[in-house]
Amino acid sequence: MSAQLSSSLVGKSVVTLDDLSVPQIDDLLLKARYIDSHRREVAHTCDGRVLATLFYEPSTRTRLSFETAMLRLGGQVIGFAGANQSSASKGETIADTLKTVSNYVDVVAMRHPKEGAALVASQAVDTPVINAGDGGHMHPTQTLADLATIYNRFGRVHHLTVGLCGDLTFGRTVHSLIETLCRFGDITFVLISPRELRTPQYVLDRINDTPSCSYVEVQDMTDVLGDLDVLYMTRVQQERFFNEDDYLRLRDTYILDREKLALGKDSLAVLHPLPRVNEIAFDVDEDPRAAYFEQVKNGMLMRMALESSVVGDELPGYDPEVMENDIQTIQEVHA
């Protein structure tokens, strides 16, 4: 069954998380966990492979994460960071760039400012293309990092109360996380935002369409903090408000500090897609409930799992049944 699951990803592009089934995501979560505890064993999984990182706009975290993932698997990396370093500056289309680069590499990770660019790339070539962010549209590996962090903390990505706080209108990571968690089911969403930055109706419809999921919308984080298993923070930008008074009134409401964190459960996990500005006080970093830098590590591990899967290289020694037993141990601790 596992071999079938793993082989089902070979050669596959991941433009959105809808490209992956729930069992495939489950398998990637187990693989990432395995990779973390078997770094030496997997260090030559992708020997001889080459990853291209085609980044048409700057990104520190994501590009380095994709590249490190391939390097840690024994593969190599080529690419560019910035459209001015590519033939795009001469007017070359995305499709033509991909048709060229795909002759050199085994897998492509692409970031582009235009929404839908990754779909264009994936349609142009047979080489697997992983979307590393297409404008404000999709960033599937960020959501995989979020899922992995929740999974590692709780041993599951269902039967949880998940609070999402801040800018819920424009945050693509928030929408993607909600939609993906709905596929796993049994989630109570607590949507914490000012009126101006409420969750769009199509995302609420997605929750309503999932019988085992529900949501409440609130404006004050402190009212609900004690109920949450997961708190996913996002940045509230001043320019999103229609008037400054509202911004000044609500700004501090959406800053998590130690005082507010004291209201949370001991098992609470605080996530943030990063970079943060001021929405999480620095002294929260010391608290064991802060999980946002784990998210960065989990992002790299999930990219390792994904890159090795789409190129068809099996992780030496990986046995999903053994990993599932490992996960049950975490579940028992939380139970």
Binding site: T93, I94, H112, P113, G116, V120
Partner: protein
């Protein structure tokens, strides 16, 4: 109001009121070169008001496109003054190169050589039950 009946051709009935010119535009029917009659804001027991388009020639109507712009419309085929068949368009799951994405951040605004593609998604209850979104950026189609 009297409009002469047609002998051979088609009648596109139950077009949402005020939308008949857009229907002609989407179907690629040039009113300057086609013998046709438009009845706008006619009374309709079902819809209150409606438009009717009568075309005196054998025009081929792409029902998929008609469904997109006038989902409630019906097409009656007329031969020798009699209606010989009625067709009701069904909403297409996918449409290519009919609608243009209006999102300036969409890749279709810059990438040359790609088709404008939209897919049907379930609409909100207050949005007449249909909604098309761009395959690339998921922007809702403006019809």
């Amino acid at each position: 109001m009297q409009v002469t009946s047609i002998t051979d051709g088609i009648i596109i009935d139950h077009v949402p009121a005020g939308r008949s010119l857009k229907v002609l535009d989407f179907l690629g029917i040039d009113p300057r070169k086609t013998r046709l009659a438009l009845i706008m804001n006619a009374q309709s027991p079902t819809f209150g008001t409606k438009d009717i388009i009568k075309i005196e020639s054998d025009v081929v109507v792409d029902l998929n496109i008609l469904a997109l712009v006038a989902p409630s419309a019906t097409v009656n085929v007329v031969r020798e003054g009699e209606i010989i068949s009625k067709e009701k368009p069904a909403l297409p799951l996918h449409v290519t190169n009919v609608i243009t994405c209006v999102n300036p951040r969409c890749v279709t605004s810059t990438e040359r050589g790609i088709k404008q593609q939209f897919h049907l998604v379930r609409g909100h209850e207050d949005a007449r039950g249909m909604q098309y979104r761009c395959d690339y950026c998921d922007e809702e189609a403006k019809l």
